[in-house]
Structure formats: C-alpha cells, structure tokens
C-alpha cells in the first residue's frame, strides 16, 4: 500500500484483503498528510471506534478518508492505550459530530475539541453504550409516574431474561 511505502515510520501494519486498511501509531500525523498533500487531497468521511476489552490497547479508532480526485478510500486504524487523543476538528470540520459520537459511545476524549457534548443519548445519560461491558438493555428505563405526574426513570425490569442460545454441537470441530 502506498501509505506504507511513503511513510514507513508512521505505519505499523497493513491489511490488504478483503479490503485495504492501514494501522498507525501516529494517526494525527497521517491525517495531516492525507489532508494537506496534493497527492491525497483527502476529506474525512467517517470516524468510529471499536471496543476490545481485555487488550492493553482497548479502544480502536477508525478513520475513513476519501481522496476524491483519485477516487481512493483509505481506512486508517489506531489503537489507544489511554482513551485520549488530540482532536482532528481543525483538519476536518466534519469531525465535530463524529468525535462527539465516539466520545459519548466509547468515552474517548478528544483534546482540543470545541464542543464535546453528548449527541445521541438522553439528557443526563450515564455510561458508554458501545463498550462491550454495557448491557444491550441498558441500566435505566423511563415511565410516566401517575403519582408524581411526570416521567421518572428507574432501574430496568425485564419480565423475561435476555436469552442467547448456544447452537454449537459438542461433536463438531
């Protein structure tokens, strides 16, 4: 892949199949290069995070960069040891909402972000929903309280357990 050839110091790994992706230890440097150089002329199309609990570098961030003039899409990965990273808002204005979403969903702080507020979850929401230790059903549910005449939240109460079935048969493998 071109990036690995041009910037060997920054690229730590390359995957080619079924889709090309580059992992890096210096994401902001690579993003600046992708944005600034005439060769790439890239624009941020998407940014998201993935949680891998149990790994020392738990959160993986992924940037999707379109180089429109060349019609090339670059997937850039980086894994974070601590959930902190400088913001890319000043390179890509479209990063404002992407970083807000990653922050609220996974708890990654983007340093220098002008407006890091919750985006999709409820006002006053606690927790990071896309972390793997967050249950699908959540922690709180809301209902209308007849006595207080307002909407109140309380702990979730499921009449049926969330069921997962294990279909692996013992004599396979």
């Amino acid at each position: 892949m071109e990036l690995a050839r041009l910037y060997p110091a920054w690229v730590t790994g390359v995957v080619l199949s079924p889709q090309a992706g580059v992992s890096t230890g210096a994401p902001l440097e690579v993003l600046t290069t992708l944005r600034g150089s005439l060769l790439h002329g890239g624009w941020l199309s998407d940014l998201w995070g993935t949680d891998y609990p149990g790994q020392t570098r738990r959160v993986q961030l992924s940037w999707l960069i379109w180089s429109y003039p060349r019609g090339v899409r670059t997937l850039l990965f980086t894994s974070l040891k601590t959930p902190r990273i400088p913001s890319g808002v000043y390179l890509f204005p479209s990063a404002v909402w992407f970083e807000r979403e990653v922050w609220e969903m996974l708890g990654v702080t983007f340093e220098g972000h002008p407006d890091l507020r919750r985006l999709l979850t409820d006002y006053g929401f606690n927790g990071y929903p896309l972390r793997k230790d967050f249950p699908v059903g959540g922690h709180l549910e809301v209902r209308f309280s007849e006595r207080n005449k307002r909407v109140v939240s309380r702990g979730v109460n499921f009449t049926q357990e969330f069921r997962t079935f294990d279909f692996t048969s013992p004599w396979e493998n």
């Binding site: 995957v15 079924p18 993935t50 909402w97």
Partner: protein, 389 residues
C-alpha cells in the same frame, strides 16, 4: 430597559417542518440566525449495539427502519456488506432486480424530499400529487415483498422473491406515465415565483465547504462536484447502464432541487433498462427457480439441515476480518462497517449521510433569517431514522 440583543428559541421536536424529531436550538438576533444547535437522538434505538447481538441474517430488518423513506436502498447496503464479508455472488437476474428496486426507491425518496420540502415552504399541491405516485410505488414494494414499507426484500445472496411478469408489466406502465406526472410537478414549482424566491441563493454551500463537511449525494452534487458512487465505485450492474449524473452550479437550495428532479428522470431510465434486462433474462431461462438467492432451502434432507444450521447459528465470519461497504443511497453515501468475529459482528458501524449533512446545519444556517431554516432542513432531506440510528 436594557436592549434585547439575542434570544433563543426551540424549533421542534414536534414541529412538522422539522421532518420528524429534530430539536433545534436557534439563537436569534432579531430574525437572523446566529447559531443553530441541532439536538438529535430522540429516535436513537442503538441499532449498532443491536446488530452486535444478532447474527448476520437477523440484522437485515433493522436497516428498513433506518431511513424509512428509502427502505430498500439501506437493506441493499447491508446485503452488499454481508456478501463482501462472506464472498457471496448473487445471480445476474437478482442483480438486475436489485437495480430496478433501488431506482424505484430513489423515486420514492426524491418524491418525498421534493414534495415535503415544497410543503414546508408553503406549496401544498405537489405534496398531494407526489404522494399519489409514492402510493403506486409502495404498491410495487408490496407486490414484490409482501410489505408496503419495511420490505426486507434484498437479502444477502440475492432477493427474497423474483418479480413476476405482471408486476414487471405494471412497473413498465408506471414508468411510461410517470415523466408526465413529474412535468406537472415541475410546472408547479420550477418557475414558480414564490418557490424561486424562497430557494434561489438560499443556503449556498461552496464546493470547499461541501467537501470539508463530508457531504455526499445530492448535497455534494448541488455544489458542482459530480460524485456518484454508482459511477465512482460501480456495484451490482450499474456499470452496464447508461445514465447521467446531474450537477448543480451554484450550490444553493434551488440547484439541489433541480439535481433531485433530474435524478428522478435518470432513475426512470435506469429502471427501464433494468426491466428490459429482466424481461430478456426471464425469457432466456425457461424454468426459473421460484425463489432466488444462495440462502434458500431445497427439499433435500441434507440441504435442509445445512439451511437450518445457517439460519440458527448464522454465517460464521472469519476472525479479524473487516469490511466497509458503501453505496449511493438516495440521500448520499450510506456505508456499513463490519468487524468480524464468529457468528455475530463484533462491531457494526453505520455511516448515515443525513447525520453528516445535519452536522453542517449550523454552518449553513448562520446569517440566514429564521424562515430560511425551514428551507435548509428541507433541502438537506433529513430523516431521523438514519441520523439517530
């Protein structure tokens, strides 16, 4: 008495021009917008989290509920993603059926976009006419899949059922009369004095801005960048179809309206081509199987067992695999990212075009008067199912 400098109003979340559940905090100086802060998430259902709890076949219906005015386009991207992940190849007729319904979906979406936009701005009649046509299109959905809205028609490996001859004939009859209906709608709008006063030179987005905000679809094409994923990264059988990509010149709301109208016309042509190809293909195949796709059962016992296993465990994704798949949905680039592990995706991420467009609303709306905010929301073609996910 102190001088009142600026005040803040709540636009939505129940305002009909907010296209669903947009809560917009508008800071105003007189009638001029100083800051527009969209509060989204009132329709957030955690689709990404839910997808991580389900196997690859169970995930499909969630995509119908993302953008509920262009349904099949979104389940198509999901199916493409699963096919890329598992290396499946649908048959030629399944691909042409997909193209046919993708373009009908584009008609559905753009009819909704243009006519509700006109409704917000004050023109009621195109809305009534457009929804008459939408109703006909929704009936084709129903005849193909059994469901009017949440079709679950395009599936990994193919489509649920092929379209029969009578439906194909009726779609052809619809496409023959539709351009006249579109002309009627254009007569109402394109040269209408009020429509032009409300749209021309409102919400101008320069090309540099459009690119830096990550726009795609008609929002990007309206700003004079002829970018269409159907051409840039051809999928299905789009490379075998001749069609044009309309481009606006000024980047204002009126140009985006014109782009959408022309896209409707081009979609009619593509759908016509797809119909012809389907008619040829079905004439060639004397005995078409009644259900298509690789994930359909046969009546052999061994096949039934294999089929049962597939539908209970789901297809197993090879470990450490990731795929980002994107296609040109009517609103722009819709993408699905899967990172694989076992039967369920470890991470499923959705790139919704409306989310990106709405994030730039603040930048576009500043220095417009408050009445223009309605125009801007209309031109962005916002649907909250996909933005909030």
């Amino acid at each position: 008495m102190g001088k009142l400098k600026s005040f803040t109003i709540n636009f939505g979340p129940q305002h009909p021009a907010a296209h669903g559940v947009l809560r917009l905090i508008l800071e105003l100086d007189g009638e001029v917008v100083v800051r527009a802060d969209p509060h989204v998430g009132l329709l957030h259902r955690g689709t990404e989290k839910l997808l991580e709890e389900r196997n690859l076949l169970q995930g499909l219906p969630y995509f119908d509920r993302l953008d509920y005015v262009s349904i099949i386009a979104y389940e198509h991207v999901y199916s493409l993603g699963v096919e890329n992940l598992l290396d499946l190849n649908p048959t030629g007729s399944a691909r042409w059926t997909r193209v046919l319904f993708l373009e009908l979906t584009r008609l559905l979406n753009h009819l909704m976009a243009i006519t509700t936009h006109a409704l917000d701005v004050g023109a009621l009649t195109p809305f009534l006419w457009g929804f008459e046509e939408r109703e006909k299109l929704i009936e084709f959905y129903e005849r193909a899949s059994g469901a009017r809205i949440h079709a679950a028609y395009i599936r990994p490996g193919g489509v649920a059922t092929p379209v029969d001859v009578t439906t194909r004939t009726d779609i052809a009859a619809f496409l023959a009369q539709f351009p006249a209906r579109l002309n009627e709608m254009e007569e109402m709008l394109t040269n209408n004095r009020i429509w032009r006063q409300r749209l021309v030179d409102v919400g101008v987005v320069s090309l540099e801005q459009a690119l830096s905000w990550g726009f795609s679809g008609p929002m990007l094409r309206g700003s004079s960048w002829g970018w269409d994923l159907r051409v840039a990264t051809p999928y299905e059988t789009y490379s075998d179809v001749e069609f044009g990509v309309p481009v606006g010149l000024h980047g204002d709301c009126f140009d985006r309206y014109l782009v959408r109208v022309e896209e409707i016309r081009q979609s009619c042509l593509i759908a016509g081509t797809a119909l012809d190809k389907l008619n040829l293909l079905s004439a060639g195949e004397a005995s078409t199987p009644d259900r298509e796709g690789e994930l359909q059962p046969s009546l052999q016992m061994e096949d039934l067992i294999a089929h049962f296993k597939k539908f209970t465990t789901g297809e197993v994704i090879p470990p450490r695999l990731f795929v980002y798949t994107a296609a040109e949905a009517p609103k722009g680039e819709f993408g699905v990212y899967f990172a694989g592990d076992g039967a369920k995706p470890w991470r499923a991420h959705l790139r919704a075009p409306g989310f990106v467009h709405l994030s730039a609303l603040d930048g576009i709306a500043v220095d417009h008067i408050i009445a223009d905010v309605v125009t801007l929301i209309g031109t962005q073609d916002i649907v909250f199912g996909e933005i909030d996910r």
